[in-house]
């Protein structure tokens, strides 16, 4: 359908639209008009993504003279694929109605691991080894050598891409990663470099958060994206955590050992170059005198991603004189590694701020703040000069330089915590030095400053006033939408007691109580016998899940559960979890029915949908609080209290409940769907906890469902399933176009 929002004609690929989608678009348009940032919460299952895509592309189409670029950030690759396939649908619709004028170029960008089509390279185990394998074939020095000696292997796809030069472009269209690979195979061009190049010209770019937030990767966009862009962070409820992680580094003994090996290897290389090709080192020296900014001259395949964590004026500054010479820089690194090693030898937990740490480095190792700050860039320049292509071997020294650059750049919002052992296993020495970022606004600040409109949206952003404080920005629009429903397609319940009427909880004192474990097991057993198709269970941590599943196994409960449904479980191995999920879906598809055990805050909870028959019921066992004894968390809480006046308890509850809401929200994706949600912990019945759940869950939480025991919950589930089954055909009321137009 096609309709007007003020001066913009919106092309929406469906015949009907939900009222909240319309309202969402109106708010979004106001934010774009105001060229400001906005914060929008809309429940899952209301078609947020398509509303967003339609409005922004239509907005761009209505202003052909001043085209805006659209950068869409997702958390995961599979969300990227989903978004692109929705965009494809929309694009086809727009082409139908507007003709060739609607043509856009949209593509997803990912790492070499996901884009490479060279069979020898892509078979490498992980991302780093794929990167390294690629560099071994495509680095400029390798290609120079190959030009003389045909026996040196190169990558034919990259060579073809380079040969086609300016002709190597993507025709307009929407490209998922799979499409990019297919196109690359068709043309014989490297999809990765093609995509990296096309990102500059594309109208819509879809990639992972980290491409904007992580200073190590964000370099590509800091050069290429113009200010007139709209940046969207979808499913952004965890954005503060991503920001913090992007700027945190941890160093262990193994890191230091690896770094020492790396330094030795580099010094050998330097000696070799001195003997054979002294001119190279001199050329590098000269380049560094002129400043880091000139790196733009390097060939595309060699370009290291720039460091946007550094303000622009520093980038133009020359590298300090005392680390310009390669051997001098190496000796600085040696001293730094030695210093950190000394710090790790401590017997006690130590915690200090970056200023104190830098001062101590200066006095004890003679490295000043400026030298620290340039470590990351200086290292990469050196690695290029030394023609090092097995970069995956050099991760350790890169970690050290990351650390040095961050600690030399920021004076507040960080702390350095040194722990001699893991406190859960105090007898085993395992020293670790962690640089923890506490301030989420630091990583995202460049994004807010750089781009005209940044949209932060998710199904759970409650309480919505907290996010501007955490991320330190001023949204022009900040709204939370509710779900318009003519029937109850979700049915949340709070279960406080087990079948024996004793309270259930994952609170510390009750956590390992066998009675609670048994009650939880009985609850699941009741549910598997009542609910058809798929059931998803979320636990508060891996260790808790392992423990409780083992105890169910020992007491025979698991066996009884398995008589009703197949059981799959998330593990820390992604390959295995992915296969388990795939099998889980198959089991739901074929009608066998299955249960999936998963962990809140885990990878499955973050990005996998359990909509329709893949999840008729989700059970959240316990409240997913963070591990409150972690020193990092304590330091962050302290920082939040001092800087933003956010109370520890409030933050912890907010954080736990957004995770819980995120988990249970996985079961519903559209209004035709239905799902039940059980919050199995007595603490959910308390008002202060419950009220932090998003509005769209609370509005469906009836008072009668606030304090249930297992048998009552089973009864409600049985009734609910029966009712839903009969209601399946009833269509949800949707807003007609005419009403939408009237209301404007």
């Amino acid at each position: 359908m096609k309709f007007q929002i003020e001066d913009v004609t919106v092309y929406f690929p469906y015949d009907n639209i939900y009222p909240e989608q319309y309202a969402y678009m109106v708010e979004l348009k106001r934010a774009l008009d105001a060229k400001g940032h906005c914060l929008l919460e809309m429940p899952t299952g209301t078609g947020k993504t398509i509303a967003l895509l339609s409005l922004i592309t239509s907005y761009a189409l209505s202003k052909p003279s001043n085209p805006i670029k659209f950068i869409y950030c997702t958390r995961t690759v599979h969300e990227m694929e989903k978004t692109l396939s929705e965009l494809k649908l929309l694009h086809n619709y727009q082409l139908q109605h507007l003709g060739p004028a609607a043509k856009i170029l949209a593509l997803g960008l990912s790492s070499r691991k996901n884009l490479c089509i060279n069979p020898t390279v892509v078979s490498a185990e992980n991302r780093d080894s794929v990167d390294a394998a690629c560099r071994k074939l495509t680095a400029s020095w390798v290609r120079e050598l190959a030009a003389e000696n045909p026996r040196i292997p190169t990558c034919s796809f990259f060579e073809n891409y380079e040969k086609s030069a300016s002709e190597a472009i993507l025709p307009p269209g929407v490209y998922t990663l799979q499409d990019l690979r297919a196109y690359g195979k068709l043309k014989g061009w490297c999809p990765y470099f093609l995509a990296r190049h096309m990102v500059q010209l594309a109208n819509v770019v879809v990639y992972s958060y980290q491409y904007l937030l992580d200073p190590k990767v964000a370099g590509i966009i800091s050069k290429e994206m113009q200010r007139e862009s709209v940046v969207v962070f979808d499913e952004a409820h965890n954005i503060d955590n991503v920001c913090i992680e992007a700027l945190s580094v941890s160093v262990r003994m193994q890191t230091l050992e690896g770094a020492t090996r790396n330094i030795n290897r580099m010094s050998q290389e330097i000696d070799r170059f001195k003997a054979t090709d002294a001119g190279r080192l001199r050329a590098e020296y000269n380049r560094l005198v002129e400043g880091l900014a000139l790196r733009g001259d390097l060939p595309a395949s060699d370009a290291w991603l720039a460091n946007p964590a550094l303000p622009n004026d520093i980038l133009k500054e020359a590298v300090p004189g005392n680390i310009r010479r390669a051997e001098h820089f190496l000796s600085v690194l040696r001293r730094l590694v030695q210093y950190i090693r000394g710090r790790l030898q401590t017997e006690n937990v130590e915690k200090e701020g970056p200023v104190a740490f830098v001062a101590s480095v200066n006095t004890q190792a003679g490295i000043d703040q400026k030298m620290l700050r340039f470590c990351y860039d200086r290292l990469h320049s050196l690695m290029l000069t030394l023609e090092i292509s097995d970069t995956d071997e050099f991760l350790h020294i890169q970690t050290i330089c990351d650390f040095a650059t961050l600690v030399g750049t920021y004076t507040r919002g960080f702390s350095i915590i040194i722990e001699p052992f893991d406190e859960r296993m105090p007898h085993i020495p395992d020293p670790v030095l962690q640089l923890c970022c506490h301030d989420a606004s630091l990583a995202i600040k460049p994004v807010f400053e750089r781009f005209q409109s940044v949209v932060i949206t998710s199904g759970t952003l409650s309480p919505i006033d907290l996010y501007p404080r955490l991320l330190n920005f001023n949204p022009v629009v900040s709204r939370s939408f509710t779900m318009s429903l003519t029937r109850d397609c979700i049915c949340p319940m709070v279960l406080t007691r087990g079948s024996d009427q004793l309270p259930v909880s994952t609170k510390y004192d009750l956590r390992s109580d066998p009675g609670v474990e048994k009650n939880y097991g009985k609850l699941l057993l009741e549910m598997v016998s009542v609910v058809p198709d798929g059931i998803v269970c979320f636990f508060v941590s891996y260790s808790y899940m392992d423990g409780i599943v083992n105890s169910w196994h020992e007491t025979g409960l698991l066996k009884e559960i398995m008589q009703h449904k197949l059981v799959f479980i998330e593990t820390q191995d992604v390959v295995e979890t992915t296969l388990a999920l795939d099998n889980y879906r198959k089991a739901c598809d074929c009608g066998r029915g299955a249960v999936f055990f998963s962990v809140a805050r885990g990878k499955v909870a973050e990005g996998i949908d359990f909509d329709r028959h893949y999840g008729r019921l989700v059970i959240m066992f316990g409240v997913p609080f963070q591990y409150t004894l972690s020193r990092i968390l304590l330091a962050r809480l302290e920082y939040l209290r001092d800087t933003f006046q956010i109370k520890e308890g409030d933050f912890l509850t907010f954080d736990a409940l957004r995770q819980a809401a995120q988990c249970v929200g996985r079961v519903i994706r559209s209004k035709a769907d239905y799902g039940m949600m059980i919050f199995a912990d007595k603490r959910y019945s308390r008002h202060d906890k419950r009220s932090k759940l998003p509005g769209w869950i609370l509005s469906h939480l009836r008072d009668a469902h606030l304090n249930l025991s297992t048998d009552m919950a089973a009864h409600i589930a049985r009734e609910g399933i029966k009712e839903e089954g009969s209601q399946m055909i009833i269509k949800v009321a949707v807003l007609d176009l005419s009403i939408a137009c009237d209301s404007t």
Binding site: N16, V77, Q210, S541, A594, V732, V734
Partner: protein, 588 residues
């Protein structure tokens, strides 16, 4: 396995008419296709010479029980019990019989079929051939039809299959077939219940094939296996590693299953991209221990040396693998019981599965379709097509039942549907019509004497009872269709005729309009075949008992009508043709 190669087995045995019978001593001789029993006393009447083709199965007593018995059961229900002098003798015979039965069974089923398929004008690929034979084997009804028409010479092979292209394609497109499910039970007391251990643990399967019986006996093998399982259950990784270091066979069980790891790596490429978390890993630029947003990781990896790494096995892993195997169901059609053959068969299927290329075009397409299906928001989309449910009638019974229901509903329609009931009648109108009736009766007088209403009701009830009860039961109880009330022979005959008429009619109508001589002869042939069935149907109708005759005729009627229509069409066509043949001498 050596005795399988043996052509003839001769053993001393006693033939017994029952288990308690002392039996007749004699010599049992087994050859590939038959067994003979000659009593020691030539005058004894107990002599047997039986072909294995007629033998359906064999039973035997367990080793070490009182008697070494072998019981061969025959198709018709008879059986031959032999008692052997010792168990080894019996076992040799048992193995021989098992393979002989399997062989003759196969031969009975497939060989005549193969030879019966005449390769005429079309060159069939081997795969195509195989597919057809498989279909025939799976579907006995189809086989019957095939026998009746193709071998009977009414239809050619190509004609027969031409109408079944869909069936062939369907089979081709490797749609997952329903398989025998495995029990979802991880702790089975019988470790080999259905080859589950081998399916779940390919390394154990491989080890079995390697070790048994050359290196160790079956018993030793399973003892080792149990020991390994015990060590895992104690979760003492170090102890496991220590034991493994001493015993290399035990180590095989204790170490991580490499075959599983490889398999996983291959399977991951076929996974739905909306689930692919491995791809996320590839895009994750943060090498941090705290990736999961404040989720403490409980990996005690750093605690243990890497030398113990291979010996760690988690319960979750086992759980996932188990569920995957159960989901897949039983993939092999091997008679369970022989451990080795189970292991071999599993290894073969696994191998074949993995050989399939992950970048299969078909799979790719399916994956894309799946994603686009997932993307659309269903309830915002206007309904695109009128909702049409594809009809697929698989069971002829359904057809009959629905015919029955149709017959009843048309009956009802003619009564009530013909007269439009006028419901809103004014008092005046009603009174007028009533007055008319009374005056008419007054004028004509009553033609028949007035009947007591109770009696009338009884008669009516008695007449209609059968019909109404039928109508009432119809469709309510799936187990009790009209067909089931018929005698077995009649029922089977009806079903057979129904399916053959279907087949013939399909071919008959598809040969119109007649444009070539070939089609003409085909139509004639088909017509003749149909006219042979026609009187048979009549016969059935007449042969059944009177109380069922009504129902049978209801069933037969539509068939007869269809045949009549075909005959009428044929006759009309022939007349047309002969009328025109004057104008066109070549007949077309």
């Amino acid at each position: 396995m050596a005795d399988k190669q043996q052509q003839v087995v001769v053993k001393r045995a006693r033939h017994k008419s029952s288990v308690k019978d002392p039996g007749t001593p004699g010599v049992l001789k087994l050859t590939k296709d038959r067994f003979t029993f000659m009593p020691n006393d030539p005058s004894s009447p107990v002599k047997h010479n039986v072909e294995f083709r007629t033998i359906k199965g064999h039973k035997f007593t367990k080793d070490g029980t009182k008697q070494a018995l072998l019981n061969l059961t025959q198709d018709q229900g008879g059986n031959y019990i032999f008692e052997f002098e010792n168990f080894p003798d019996r076992n040799v015979c048992k193995d021989f019989v098992a393979s002989a039965i399997a062989l003759s069974g196969e031969a009975g089923r497939t060989v005549p079929e193969k030879s019966a398929v005449p390769i005429q004008d079309e060159q069939l690929s081997a795969a195509e051939m195989e597919r057809r034979i498989k279909l025939l084997q799976e579907d006995s009804d189809l086989q019957k039809l095939h026998k009746q028409f193709v071998i009977g010479g009414i239809l050619s092979e190509a004609e027969f299959w031409a109408t079944r292209k869909k069936l062939l394609e369907q089979n081709y497109s490797r749609r997952p077939k329903q398989r025998v499910a495995l029990k979802n039970d991880m702790w089975s007391t019988k470790p080999l219940a259905d080859g589950q251990i081998f399916a779940e643990k390919p390394a154990v399967r491989q080890a079995y094939l390697n070790f048994v019986p050359n290196k160790m006996t079956e018993k030793e093998f399973w003892t080792k296996y149990s020991r390994a399982e015990y060590l895992h259950s104690t979760k003492n990784v170090i102890a496991a590693a220590a034991e493994a270091a001493e015993d290399e066979e035990l180590a095989v069980f204790l170490k991580q299953d490499d075959m599983l790891v490889n398999e996983a790596r291959k399977k991951i490429r076929q996974v739905d991209p909306t689930l692919d978390m491995e791809a996320d890993e590839g895009d994750d630029y943060m090498h941090l221990p705290i990736q999961d947003h404040g989720l403490p990781r409980n990996d005690n990896k750093d605690v243990l040396d890497s030398q113990y790494e291979p010996y760690r096995r988690s319960f979750s892993q086992h759980l996932n693998q188990h569920a995957a195997v159960v989901l897949q169901g039983r993939v092999i059609d091997v008679e369970l019981g022989d451990t080795r053959s189970v292991a071999e068969a599993l290894a073969r299927t696994k191998h074949a599965e993995l050989a399939k290329d992950a970048s299969d075009v078909y799979l790719d397409k399916e994956r894309l379709e799946r994603i686009s299906r997932m993307t659309e928001i269903e309830d915002l989309q206007a309904p695109r097509d009128p909702a049409v449910a594809p009809l697929s009638i698989k069971d002829p019974r359904d057809y009959f039942d629905s015919q029955q229901a149709n017959a009843f509903s048309t009956l009802g329609d003619t009564v009530s549907g013909a007269k439009q009931l006028k419901c809103s009648v004014s008092t005046r109108e009603a009174y007028c019509s009533l007055k008319e009736c009374i005056s008419e009766i007054k004028f004509q007088g009553l033609t028949e004497p007035t009947i007591n209403s109770e009696v009338a009701f009884k008669v009516l009830n008695g007449l209609a009872q059968n019909i109404s009860s039928n109508k009432y039961h119809l469709g309510r109880n799936p187990n009790e269709s009209v067909l089931d009330s018929l005698p077995k022979i009649t029922r089977e005959e009806l079903l057979l005729h129904w399916s053959s008429i279907q087949e013939l009619l399909k071919h008959f109508w598809s040969s119109y309009p007649i444009t070539t001589k070939y089609l003409l002869t085909k139509a004639t042939k088909l017509k003749d075949a149909m006219s042979q069935i026609y009187p048979k149907l009549q016969e059935i109708k007449e042969s059944v008992q009177s109380d069922l005759r009504h129902q049978v005729s209801l069933l037969v009627q539509p068939m007869l009508q269809a045949l009549d229509a075909a005959f009428a069409h044929y006759d009309a066509d022939v007349q047309n043709r002969s009328a025109r043949s004057g104008e066109r001498p070549n007949g077309f």
